[in-house]
């Protein structure tokens, strides 16, 4: 119509990006309790149930990457300096990006809702099969193993007070209708905190509107400035702090779609006694537009060869037709540490983010550290005894590092020994080892509870906060541990309202004892 260019970009910002099948939610990974015929590992990748529960988007391709390794001792105590840390990142980078690349399981679903599952670069073979969705299926591998698979709808296994978390980081889109053109007004420049700041009217709980921030209950974003000028935490008439968390389960009643597999360890590695760590992460890819018009649905090759051996060239050609959208390895690696920027969706390859990770952790520490101190607990973050949370960002990793040194390197104490049922000499993990690379590292000699993997029943949102506790400190004669903030007794003893653990103690539906473990979807 006109002699000017008009790339319709307006559509890109206004078409309110709906929940997408590319939006990965969680990856769970733990050793199976079923050891008949040998050890097995359970891996479950969950994502948005689009177009609906149990129905899959045929433009999507999901990858679960798997790499097995021996358990190694991480950073030694004399490497607890920035140089040592960067050396550590370099070493693991070489491991993950070097010649020994990960094996993968690749899943696509066709128009008839049958799933093509490809097992690529496993020691035994690469092969492919087609299975029904929403049904537990046993896949027999060419080298004689049996893999259980379930690709279908389930209840969302994540249970947490997402609104509380967003309140803690002053994330405006959870509470306000933030214009698309105000990308800088999402995480507002207000100190992050676990307890409310006096006068933080932009985010503090409103007793007259208790549902504000839950569901889709949002307000108009008021004109700026969107800042806070106070100097203390809020206290009520009884001298109690106000918790930003409520313990509510924001995911209650929500379904997801999932790819759940129970894989013999001997299929993943030809040295199962040696390679005790199974690293896994998930990726979502969406078909490129140019390839959609070339796609021939229900390609006869796959229909006629339910179990077909596939060659590397075929695989690479397939992936070239897709575009990486999301990755998932560690819970909160995106939301808390990478700010969910699209260009940081790197999965295990998040090494270049390591400096950012340190700076971001320091930024969070200035928020959470003082609030932990105010509650009478000890923090791993060095905040110079600040009486209140501070909004501070870093441009230099060298400035941030001393603040977070302890947070990064401290051992994450476990509440008891149940995580290590064989009583082996397994070192306690440290945050730095947990988040870089962004993988779920399942220790096959443990129960696989976080951070030795991730079990569905783990309250990982609360465990994540425990990173900021000083694990050398003691409470009632016991060292702090990753479940401390999940202990109702703690909250009964500190001056805070409401007296609740930050996040719900358990899922809204009981998990299953057997495969596929995640609960049936809501009807």
């Amino acid at each position: 119509m006109a002699d000017h260019n008009d790339p319709n970009a307006v559509n890109s910002i206004f078409s309110d990006i709906d929940v997408s099948a590319a939006d990965l939610y969680d990856i769970f990974g733990f050793p199976s309790s079923n050891t008949d015929g040998g050890e097995k590992v359970v891996i479950a990748l969950t994502f948005a149930s689009m177009p609906s529960t149990g129905v899959f988007d045929t433009d999507m391709l999901y990858r679960i990457l798997v790499s097995s390794d021996p358990r190694v001792v991480g950073l030694s105590n004399d490497e607890h300096h920035l140089k040592g840390l960067l050396r550590y990142f370099d070493a693991i980078k070489e491991k993950f990006l070097g010649p020994f690349k990960a094996s993968e399981i690749r899943v696509t679903v066709d128009q008839s809702q049958r799933a093509t599952v490809k097992f690529i670069d496993f020691p035994g073979a690469s092969f492919s099969t087609v299975i029904d969705t929403n049904k537990v299926t046993t896949i027999d591998t060419p080298d004689g193993h049996a893999i259980k698979a379930y690709i279908g709808g389930r209840d969302d296994a994540f249970f947490n007070d997402l609104t509380g978390f967003f309140r803690s980081i002053n994330y405006a889109p959870q509470f306000y209708r933030v214009p698309h053109t105000m990308a800088g007004s999402r995480e507002l420049k207000i100190p992050k905190t676990l307890i409310e700041l006096e006068g933080n009217h932009l985010f503090n709980f409103d007793p007259n509107d208790p549902e504000w921030g839950y569901g889709n209950n949002k307000r108009e974003l008021p004109p700026g400035p969107h800042t806070w000028n106070g100097d203390k935490f809020f206290k009520d008439a009884n001298g109690n702090f106000r918790f930003v968390y409520s313990g509510r389960d924001c995911q209650a009643g929500i379904n997801i779609n999932a790819i759940i597999l129970e894989i013999p360890l001997a299929f993943i590695t030809d040295a199962p006694d040696h390679n005790r760590i199974v690293n896994t992460w998930g990726e979502s890819w969406v078909l490129k537009a140019a390839d959609k018009i070339e796609t021939i649905p229900d390609h006869p090759f796959w229909l006629e060869n339910p179990i077909a051996l596939i060659g590397q060239s075929k695989i690479d050609d397939e992936l070239k037709k897709y575009k990486l959208v999301d990755t998932d390895g560690q819970p909160f690696a995106d939301a808390a540490l990478s700010e969910r920027e699209d260009n940081r969706q790197l999965g295990a390859n998040n090494f270049w983010l390591a400096p950012h990770f340190i700076k971001r952790l320091a930024h969070l520490g200035w928020g959470f550290g003082p609030s932990i101190t105010a509650l009478g607990l000890q923090t791993s973050f060095d905040h110079d005894n600040s009486p209140v949370s501070v909004h501070k960002t870093y441009s230099l990793v060298t400035a941030a590092f001393p603040r977070v040194k302890k947070t990064l390197f401290q051992h994450l104490n476990m509440p008891d020994d149940s995580w290590n049922p064989k009583g082996l000499n397994i070192p306690l993990r440290r945050p730095v080892e947990v988040f870089v690379p962004n993988v779920c590292a399942i220790d096959m000699d443990t129960t696989g509870t976080w951070p030795y993997g991730r079990r569905p029943e783990d309250q990982v949102a609360t465990r994540f906060l425990s990173l900021f506790l000083d694990m050398e400190a003691e409470l009632n004669g016991k060292k702090y541990h990753i479940e401390l903030l999940n202990d109702p007794a703690l909250w009964n003893s500190v001056p805070i309202e409401p007296k609740t653990a930050p996040n719900p103690m358990k899922n809204d539906k009981e998990f299953l004892k057997d495969f596929p473990y995640l609960a049936d979807p809501w009807g």
Partner: protein, 393 residues
């Protein structure tokens, strides 16, 4: 047997459904910014998709109402600026970008500002901003913008490469955008007379997003250029039936002229002229360049062409409007004035077969220094099929 619905029909139905759902509540007080923005956006999208420029006014009214209640939301002003851009109200675009809260700090606002710079002939500013946007975030639309810039500046290879990259950014969830990009690539090929490649792109555009009149309109031009007149006639008739706009009526009329069917040509050209003039009488400015073209090339009425080209130049002083006025002056026999303006157009650095052909004609008439022949030769090099049927985009 029931015919399969096209992608265009499906999308239009979804938009209309969305409008129907919001129609009762979007304007209710207190105004919900998300709801009313979506409502205005759907009105805008419906008007854009159907090619109904008058209907853009509905979206504009909704936005004004929303701004009265919500203040200068960046989203609302961005949408408003896009409407004004489509209607060539460029001074209004400039104002919208200033008024929208934080709009000029946002990526979409900056991209639109760069588009405005391009239209106003501020080419360096436009290029620099496009490049900066791409450095920050390699989005398909920024790549397409820079591709178009290079296309117009004559770097066809770079334009092609950038379009390639833009295409690679699009997913199966963005098939209309993909189709649009394929059309742009076809236009680029058409501009250098490569009909086979142009057809290949247009066919991909159609496969990617079926049933869109915009694809048919491009196909119609191509068929006309290839002298497949029956196909061109059929396609243009479909288009003017769906989108009865004067610019398409003019194209059909000109096709009939090429086909030496003067009666049909007159019928459609009369309609087109009437449509253009009625629009101008309503105070609209977006058909000024069509009026200039219509009087210069269809009626060969120099003074009228000068009048409308002059008005268009007042809105935006770029190589295209300068060239249009130069051509109108040529038609009016004012060769020295035409030459001055053409020199200004050429100084922009633009390299385009039609621009060079116009330059060649004007130089030949105004100056016996041989430059006319040089430009005509260059024009023929850039597009060996320049004399074939074409429309003005």
């Amino acid at each position: 047997m029931i015919a399969k619905r096209t992608d265009f029909e499906n999308e239009l139905e979804r938009i209309r459904q969305g409008l129907a759902e919001l129609n009762g509540s979007a304007l209710n007080l207190p105004v919900d910014s998300a709801k009313i923005s979506r409502f205005a956006y759907l009105q805008y999208q419906c008007a854009s998709l159907t090619g109904n420029l008058e209907a853009l006014g509905d979206a504009d009214s909704t936005i004004d109402y929303a701004i009265r209640h919500l203040g200068p939301s960046g989203d609302l002003y961005f949408l408003k600026a896009n409407i004004h851009f489509k209607l060539h109200r460029l001074n209004d675009v400039e104002q919208d970008l200033q008024l929208g809260r934080d709009l000029l700090l946002s990526t979409p606002g900056r991209a639109l500002q760069a588009d405005l710079d391009f239209q106003k002939g501020r080419y360096d500013a436009a290029r620099q901003e496009y490049e900066a946007l791409i450095t920050e975030d390699r989005t398909w639309d920024s790549l397409a913008r820079l591709a178009y810039f290079n296309f117009k500046m004559g770097d066809i290879e770079k334009a092609d490469r950038l379009y390639d990259e833009a295409v690679d950014e699009l997913t199966a969830k963005q098939m209309r955008h993909y189709s649009w990009l394929e059309l742009q690539r076809g236009v680029l090929d058409l501009s250098r007379g490569d009909y086979e490649q142009a057809r290949s792109h247009y066919e991909r555009a159609d496969r990617a997003y079926s049933g869109h009149w915009l694809v048919q309109e491009h196909m119609a031009e191509l068929a006309g250029a290839e002298e497949k007149f029956d196909e061109a006639e059929r396609l243009y008739c479909n288009v003017v039936d769906q989108v009865p706009r004067p610019d398409f009526q003019q194209a059909l009329g000109e096709l009939y002229l090429t086909m030496e069917k003067p009666a049909q040509a007159t019928e459609w050209l009369d309609k087109a002229r009437k449509g253009f003039l009625e629009s101008a009488e309503r105070g609209e400015v977006h058909y000024y360049h069509h009026l200039a073209d219509f009087y210069a090339d269809v009626e060969e009425n120099g003074p009228e062409a000068v009048k409308w080209a002059g008005k268009d130049l007042e809105l935006r002083r770029n190589f295209s409007t300068l060239s249009a006025l130069a051509w109108a002056l040529y038609r009016a026999g004012q060769f020295p004035e035409a030459l001055d303006l053409m020199n200004e157009a050429l100084a922009s650095g633009a390299k385009d077969a039609r621009l060079f052909r116009t330059a060649g004609m004007i130089y030949t008439a105004a100056s016996p220094n041989g430059k006319g022949a040089w430009y005509l030769e260059k024009a023929a090099e850039l597009n060996p099929n320049l004399k074939n049927f074409h429309v003005h985009r």
